[in-house]
């Protein structure tokens, strides 16, 4: 629903930075600015020119702050509406007082992301760009920021354009065979049709694989630290956090609650879940903690199974391993500073990393292993990396790939040719959903540029 009202918000992070910006967008932006802002120089507010002046409460005449104001006349603004930005001194109190002044002068508080939504609705940016901007706003780590910016610049759109191109050509070939039976059209199914579809499928594979990494970058992943009591789970957590959050003692079962902390591991936001030591206990409180830990295993993306390398692999360790089941896991051999006594079960093929939470050895290797588990071995380099970071995109791309696979299957099964374009058009539409653009059907253009047709 699009409303033609005027919205306002603080567009800088609260309490950060030297200046604060209040942004207003909508038809009443300029009247509101005139109401509350008095420029030092005469001549009025010109578009895309900074004015220096004072923000005054029109009711009392009280001075709130000295500020810079810039007016951007529609459509040459981010939202393609009239936009006013007031840059003031950054104190949280001052900025929010100016905002309430703007609101009492007739603006409405903007909903989260509403400026971007307007930019999208007004055709300023496409859907992929809009969603990427949303990601910029909420991204928490550098790598994620880099990824989000790449999407905004249309890198994803460009890769999708390559997929679309392949499908369009395949479609043009099939349609040419259907519509021009009397022309001597020279189309080889292997090279001309499959030769276009196969690379498109491969590209979709790559984009879909990238999705997992993309999702990781936006939402963060959860890594659970599991192990029997007193193997050093909390010490490991603290080492990864580089500060003491969880209570660490040598008494088994000290950590009774689940502890959640978000850390940055090689640019990846990771939610670490420390658990109460898992063992069969008579202590009711500890029992509850154990139950909670076991219950959380299925929701974790990765389990760090911590064992004490200086003692033997016990029945308790075995039980925990059973509880982890088929989860993605890394075996952490803690206490590597002590003589090694452990022998892992023969069937356990998971990656192992030896660390010492006591002296910090092995921790960089563990960080790498965690990052690698999510990135398929590829280091997160946002500059080189385009990932699909929205469930909507992933679904659309999966749909496209499914349609293309069905096309290939139908082609080899020799179904009636008239049915082949259906899957190709479905794939084309699915791919079009990602960019939010209507797919312009230029199949005929490709037919006429590829084949000599006409009588």
């Amino acid at each position: 629903m699009y409303l033609r009202d005027t919205i306002a918000a603080i567009s800088t992070p609260v309490g950060e930075g030297g200046i604060g910006i209040v942004r207003i967008s909508g038809p009443a932006s300029l009247p509101i600015a005139r109401d509350i802002f008095q420029a030092k120089s005469s001549g009025g507010l010109k578009s895309h020119r900074f004015s220096y002046g004072s923000v005054l409460d029109p009711a009392s005449g009280a001075l709130l702050d000295e500020a810079m104001l810039v007016f951007m006349k529609a459509p040459n603004s981010y939202t393609r509406e009239d936009v006013v930005e007031i840059q003031c001194h950054g104190g949280a109190l001052v900025v929010s007082r100016i905002l309430s002044l703007v609101v009492s002068a007739g603006a409405r508080l903007a909903a989260p992301g509403e400026f971007t939504k307007r930019a999208f609705l007004n055709g300023r940016i496409d859907l992929v760009q809009a969603e990427a901007v949303m990601d910029v706003i909420s991204s928490r780590t550098d790598a994620a920021l880099c990824l989000a910016q790449h999407q905004r610049e249309g890198l994803l759109s460009r890769r999708i354009a390559v997929v679309k191109d392949g499908i369009l050509y395949a479609l043009a070939y099939v349609e040419a065979l259907i519509d021009f039976p009397e022309e001597d059209i020279d189309v080889a199914v292997d090279t001309d049709v499959l030769g276009r579809v196969s690379p498109a499928v491969a590209e979709l594979d790559a984009l879909i694989d990238g999705f997992d990494a993309g999702k990781v970058l936006r939402d963060g992943v959860s890594v659970m630290i599991a192990g029997k009591p007193n193997v050093g789970k909390s010490s490991l957590l603290n080492t990864l956090l580089k500060e003491n959050r969880a209570i660490v003692t040598a008494v088994p079962g000290t950590t009774r609650d689940l502890i959640e902390e978000v850390v940055n591991i090689n640019g990846l936001p990771v939610k670490l879940l420390d658990t109460a030591g898992i063992r069969d206990s008579d202590d009711l409180v500890e029992k509850e903690g154990v139950r909670l830990s076991l219950a959380r295993i299925p929701v974790a993306d990765l389990v760090l199974f911590v064992v004490d390398a200086s003692t033997a692999f016990t029945v308790e360790d075995e039980a925990i391993l059973q509880a982890i089941g088929g989860k993605c896991l890394i075996v952490v051999l803690n206490k590597s500073d002590l003589p090694r006594a452990i022998e892992l079960p023969v069937g356990l093929t998971a990656q192992t990393v030896a660390i010492s939470a006591f002296d910090g050895s092995g921790i960089p290797e563990l960080r790498d292993a965690i990052a690698a588990a999510f990135m398929h071995g590829a280091a997160i380099d946002g500059r080189e990396y385009v990932a699909v970071s929205r469930a909507r995109h992933r679904d659309a791309l999966l749909k496209a790939r499914e349609s293309l696979r069905s096309f290939v299957a139908n082609l080899s099964a020799g179904v009636n040719m008239e049915l082949l374009p259906i899957d190709l058009r479905d794939a084309l539409n699915a791919v079009g959903e990602v960019t939010g653009e209507t797919t312009v059907d230029d199949v005929l253009d490709r037919i006429f540029s590829s084949f000599c047709i006409g009588k």
Partner: protein
């Protein structure tokens, strides 16, 4: 100006394939109708290839026939070779094509028109429209006569400011041998119409007595020719073959040697030609790697030696034409009877039309055929039929007949034209139809007979036959769903043959027919009476059962789209007053002025966000 004292309901200008259908439809519906043409001897003349049908075009002919038009019956009566194309690619893309005896085709159509009640045929060149209160109310001719009519249908073909090119020689003409129409397009411009220029071309006509057919490969018609019209059961007349010949590198060199005198490459021709129907010089220039191009030598009739070499249209000078045609194997001694030429003509941007084909600028004025930027006899006839029907419905004070993209190729074509416009001559292709599996030749009557009957074009007797066929299909479909064959009744031998050995339960006839290669013929082994049904009914049963899944899916898509199609946009909609529309979308909408939200959604550059905003604006408007 002398005013003719008879006042007509419908005046049709032009007697090509569009004009004939328009005039016949209007008169048959009950309107007093006048057809005006520059040359009464050229009624329904095939100015280019002597053939009807082909992919998507055959579909159009069947739709015209189902609605009560004449084209299907005319080609059935005068065809000299019938072929069904794409027989192995599926029922939806199967298409009928026929070679016509060009002279017989035109004479039969003229005869049908002359016998039609309420239809006057007159020779005259229309130079202006007569308007009353901003509406079309008649036409003026060069002879100084004003004919009054409640509605006017313009079907000007290639005649408006027609300019014929042969090499660097050019002269005004509506077609080789005919005068152009001068003045009318200027008047249309005065009224605010966006008039543009298109180009098309035709090959030379060759003398069969100078062609060595023994060195060419013959191409025969189908052994069992299938008629176009649902009214006809069979084609009786004998068929004649076409012949296939090929150009060669020597001929291509000749073409290249004449390019400096090509009006196209010399920049003399300003009109845009069709990409799907390029001249031979275009093919040689654009596809230099191809060392031969195919041509079908099509006889223009049984009683003539004139031959039409398809695919070899050109506007090169006559000396190049002589040398080029003679460079083809089998044509070494060929004599040209009529030279190839290109023709430029005026058309009116079809986005200035409503889906009824009435112009948005002048009420009661309808455009059909090449004036709307199309090419092809079938495309023209289909529009002529719709324009004639809608002009007649206007006279009767009724709502227009509008066909949607899910109803007919006619609907697809008209929607494409009025929502997107066209910059090159528009030809129908099956790939333009997103609901292709629904729009088949075989079910054109099932799709459109009702509408044809409702407007008064399908005679009662024909309609009764159709209803009987339709009911037969429905009852038989029900029976096939209910009746089953048990494993014991089928017997081990049959089950083995059908790959069903070990089947435990009874299987319905529908389930059997759903199997890919299972035909009614096969089903007759357990249900012999199915072979007593007419062949067209059996065909429907097979297609409808086998394609049920796909058909159902497309029907759902049509149903979803109907919502947008039904959302009408008022004619006076002020796009500037709608907040939130981007400048580009606003300009597009203001220029195209779509009739419905569905049309708006298909205009390139109109974003989904724009459609959302527009639909909100429409709702807000409705609320006021």
């Amino acid at each position: 100006m002398i005013v003719y004292d008879k006042k007509y309901d419908v005046i049709v200008v032009g007697a090509g394939h569009a004009g004939c259908e328009a005039a016949l439809a209007a008169a048959r519906i009950g309107c007093s109708t006048l057809l005006l043409t520059i040359n009464l001897d050229a009624i329904a003349l095939m100015s280019c290839n002597p053939a009807i049908g082909g992919l998507a075009k055959g579909h159009l002919v069947k739709e015209i026939d189902a609605l009560g038009g004449e084209m299907g019956r005319n080609i059935d009566a005068t065809g000299i070779q019938f072929r069904l194309l794409n027989t192995k690619k599926g029922p939806a893309v199967r298409a009928s094509r026929a070679q016509a005896d060009k002279q017989l085709y035109r004479l039969r159509m003229k005869n049908v028109m002359e016998r039609q009640d309420r239809l006057d045929l007159k020779q005259g060149e229309v130079t202006n429209l007569h308007l009353e209160e901003g509406h079309a109310a008649g036409v003026d001719t060069r002879g100084g006569v004003r004919f009054l009519g409640k509605t006017v249908v313009l079907t000007t073909g290639t005649f408006m400011r027609g300019l014929i090119h042969i090499g660097l020689v050019n002269y005004p003409g509506g077609r080789a041998g005919d005068l152009p129409s001068i003045g009318l397009s200027e008047r249309l411009m005065d009224y605010g119409f966006d008039v543009g220029r298109l180009k098309t071309g035709t090959p030379a006509r060759l003398d069969a007595r100078t062609i060595d057919f023994s060195r060419l490969e013959p191409q025969y018609g189908d052994e069992r020719p299938i008629p176009f019209s649902f009214d006809n059961d069979r084609i009786e007349q004998p068929q004649v073959p076409c012949h296939v010949a090929y150009t060669n590198p020597k001929g291509h060199d000749i073409i290249r040697s004449g390019l400096d005198r090509s009006p196209l490459y010399a920049g003399i021709i300003e009109g845009i030609g069709p990409r799907y129907c390029p001249s031979i010089e275009d093919k040689v220039v654009r596809f230099p790697e191809k060392d031969r191009h195919q041509t079908f030598l099509e006889p223009e009739g049984r009683e003539t030696v004139e031959v039409y070499p398809s695919g070899l249209s050109t506007s090169l000078p006559i000396d190049i034409q002589w040398a080029f045609y003679r460079s083809i194997e089998g044509l070494e001694r060929v004599e040209i009877m009529r030279p190839a030429y290109a023709i430029e003509y005026d058309y009116v941007n079809p986005i200035q039309l409503h889906a009824s084909l009435e112009t948005k600028l002048l009420g009661n004025l309808y455009h059909a055929g090449q004036i709307n930027g199309t090419s092809g006899y079938e495309e023209a006839a289909a529009q002529g039929l719709m324009a004639g029907i809608n002009a007649a419905l206007r006279v009767q004070g009724k709502e227009p007949l509008l066909l949607g993209r899910g109803d007919a190729y006619i609907g697809v074509m008209i929607d494409d034209l009025v929502t997107l416009g066209t910059r090159e001559p528009y030809r129908m292709f099956t790939s333009r139809a997103e609901y292709r599996l629904l729009l088949r030749e075989d079910n054109a009557d099932l799709r459109l007979r009702e509408q044809g009957h409702a407007v008064g074009l399908v005679p009662e007797e024909t309609y009764a036959r159709f209803v009987a066929k339709k009911e037969l299909i429905e009852t038989e479909l029900e029976r096939l769903g209910k009746e089953r064959v048990t494993p014991s009744a089928a017997g081990e031998e049959l089950l083995t043959e059908w790959g069903l050995l070990g089947m435990q339960n009874a299987i319905s006839y529908v389930q059997l027919l759903r199997r890919p290669d299972f035909t009614c013929q096969e089903l007759a082994r357990v249900y012999p009476r199915i072979m007593e049904l007419p062949e067209t009914v059996r065909e429907q049963l097979e297609i409808q059962i086998k394609y049920q899944g796909y058909i159902g899916r497309q029907l759902e898509q049509v149903a979803r789209a109907v919502k947008l199609e039904g959302a009408k946009i008022p004619v006076e909609m002020d796009y500037l007053a709608i907040p939130g529309l981007s400048t580009e979308v606003r300009e597009k909408l203001a220029r195209f002025r779509p009739d419905t939200l569905g049309q708006a959604s298909r205009i390139p550059g109109v974003t989904p966000a724009g459609i959302t905003i527009l639909s909100i604006a429409l709702k807000a408007r409705g609320g006021k």
